[in-house]
Amino acid sequence: MNNPENQDGCLIWEFDFALSTYYEIELEAVEHLIPKRMSIVEVAPGIALLALTALNFPAGALGNLPEFQELIYGLVVTPDLSRGVPKFAMLILSLSSTNLEHLEHCVSYYKLPVFGQFSCVNIQKEPHEVEYEDEHGLITTMKNVHPNPVYEPGERYFQAFVEEAGDLYVADVLMKGSLFEHQNTGDAGTLYNHPFFRGIDMEEAEPVAYMQMFSEPGSLGKQYYPRPVKFG
């Protein structure tokens, strides 16, 4: 892969909490969100994966920023294998944060599709459980459904695609930390009908948890995130 650590403009973000859930969702409900030149990965015919990640960045994680929380949502798409073989590739569709400075930086530096600022965030680091809300109402509740996580030091390389003014950009992102992933089934929380999800009718789409990844409570992980480059 293109090692993000060596790429121009790579920023290292330290996080002390990360919880990602990948939801199966009907392709029909989300395909309008993807540019024509990209294709959605189908884990079963007609079933796409919606990725939702909650992060907590402690004070000083990047520059002088105070502690803040982020929620990022995207759809799993086919990767560009000429860049390396990632764990997955994702077209990022929404990002919100508790910190305005962080949001401005996400737009100017990473071209990320910022949605807005949260009004209320609750993160329980152990057990992994989060709740995000803004002026429009609840966005999501999300929780781990595995009773006995076994954490191991690891890294996950993924490709983060964004679209800006009709152009696609990609960044090779590397996450390092003490991590665990599983595919247990269970009640992983709720995705609410909310503009953060860009018009998906969650009640009709009935997303179902497909996989979860999260970091070990009390541990610090690092996200190596270079400035995205134009794709194609």
């Binding site: 029909e28 079963a44 015919p45 007609g46 599983h182 595919q183 089934t185």
Partner: protein, 385 residues
């Protein structure tokens, strides 16, 4: 250490001999094959196969719609019709179970139609749905309430809808909720296909499958049978109303463009069906159920066997990294078992699948269970650990 695709040196009996890549030969108790009723090596079945071979030769050497249909094939169709004993029904033969599912689904549904599949449907149903170019919808495994919601959201007035389910699911050994799925599907005017691959000749009073067992045989529109499991041969068929099977005969491309069933197998299948429809089949059905109950009782509460109620018993060991060493261990201790690992099943839900037959005796089941439990102890998946 590599144990997959290991050559077997004889018929799929309760005890088999295998030869590993190294040349080493091992004698094993087989809990890995689908020869549920032992018909693949039944003397009468073999004699019928030999007789057919003498008359018709090795292969059918032609498409069933051209020169490949023999009198023998028509006889098999007739025997299947008699076995189900429902007037107005017909049979469409295929040279594999996979071919039957992809052929039937893609012949029945087309662009603009909707195929609704159980989330754990067999690959052949999924591939048939993809090939049909119909819109594919999935419902949660065996969840007829979710199926109801999926169907309720469809614009079904001008659309052909095909709902597919299975009699017994081979990854978990659980039974399809066929009766509930039929009831919900009919509410929306949908056609129902039940793949009885792992249940025909076994489930139901007369061995007519889970559809018979749940009292909805005459409400199911299409039954798919596979001849490579309880029949002990190879091939498959659609059993449905005669007008539908006539249609499928001409529009299922996997049938039209494949050679017809080979004669020796066809002869053997006829005999296997005769036996299964009589006292032999009745006795074997009772034995396989009691054998499965016996093995389940030996394993239950000691290892995780999921929700199995059938002759397929999964033993869930979890970590996919154990698959190769565990498989190697089982073979060296004397068990031929079928392991399923990620991504065939979700992460950390890897499993040994145990296939019980009517032909196992109690000693073989005990030896098999002992080895499975030893493996559970050694690899750390005993429940009390």
């Amino acid at each position: 250490m590599y144990t997959f695709q290991i050559p077997h040196l004889g018929a799929q009996r309760p005890e088999v001999a295998v030869q590993r890549i190294s040349g080493e030969k091992l004698d094993l108790i087989s809990l890995a094959n689908y020869n549920y009723l032992g018909y693949s090596y039944h003397p009468e079945v073999l004699q019928a196969a030999k007789d057919a071979l003498d008359i018709y030769g090795l292969g059918a050497t032609g498409s069933p719609v051209l020169n490949g249909t023999f009198r023998l094939h028509q006889l098999l169709e007739q025997k299947i019709i008699e076995f189900f004993d429902m007037p107005g029904y017909g049979v469409s033969l295929f040279s594999s179970g996979y071919g039957a599912n992809i052929g039937v689904v893609s012949a029945y549904a087309h662009k603009g139609d909707i195929v609704v599949l159980d989330r754990l449907s067999h690959a052949s149903l999924v591939d048939g749905a993809i090939l049909s170019q119909a819109t594919i919808k999935l419902f949660k495994h065996n969840d007829y309430e979710h199926l109801d919601r999926v169907l309720n959201r469809l614009d079904y007035k001008n659309t052909r809808i095909l709902v597919c389910t299975e009699g017994v699911y081979s990854a978990d050994g659980d039974t399809g909720h066929v009766a509930d799925i039929v009831r919900v599907s009919k509410k929306y005017g949908a056609t129902v296909l039940v793949d009885e691959a792992h249940s025909l000749l076994i489930a139901g009073e007369h061995g007519r499958g889970v559809s018979e067992e749940q009292g909805v045989l005459d409400e199911v529109d299409m039954i798919i049978a596979t001849f490579s499991k309880s029949f002990g041969g190879v091939g498959g068929c659609l059993y449905a109303r005669e007008d539908l099977t006539n249609y499928v005969n001409w529009y299922a491309r996997s049938r039209m463009f494949s050679c017809a069933l080979d004669p020796a197998v066809t002869g053997g299948l006829i005999k296997a069906l005769e036996l299964a429809g009589g006292p032999d089949g009745q006795a074997k059905r009772e034995r396989i159920r009691s054998n499965a109950d016996y093995l389940r009782a030996r394993l239950k509460d000691k290892v995780d066997i999921g929700d199995s109620h059938s002759w397929i018993i999964p033993v869930i060991y979890g970590d996919e990294h154990l698959t190769i060493p565990l498989s190697d261990y089982l073979q060296r201790q004397g068990v031929d078992a079928s392991l399923m690992s990620f991504p065939a099943v979700p992460k950390n839900q890897s499993r040994i699948r145990l296939f019980v037959t009517s032909e196992h005796n109690q000693d073989q089941l005990d030896r098999g269970a002992d080895i499975i439990l030893q493996a559970a102890e050694k690899f750390g998946f005993l429940l009390d650990k």
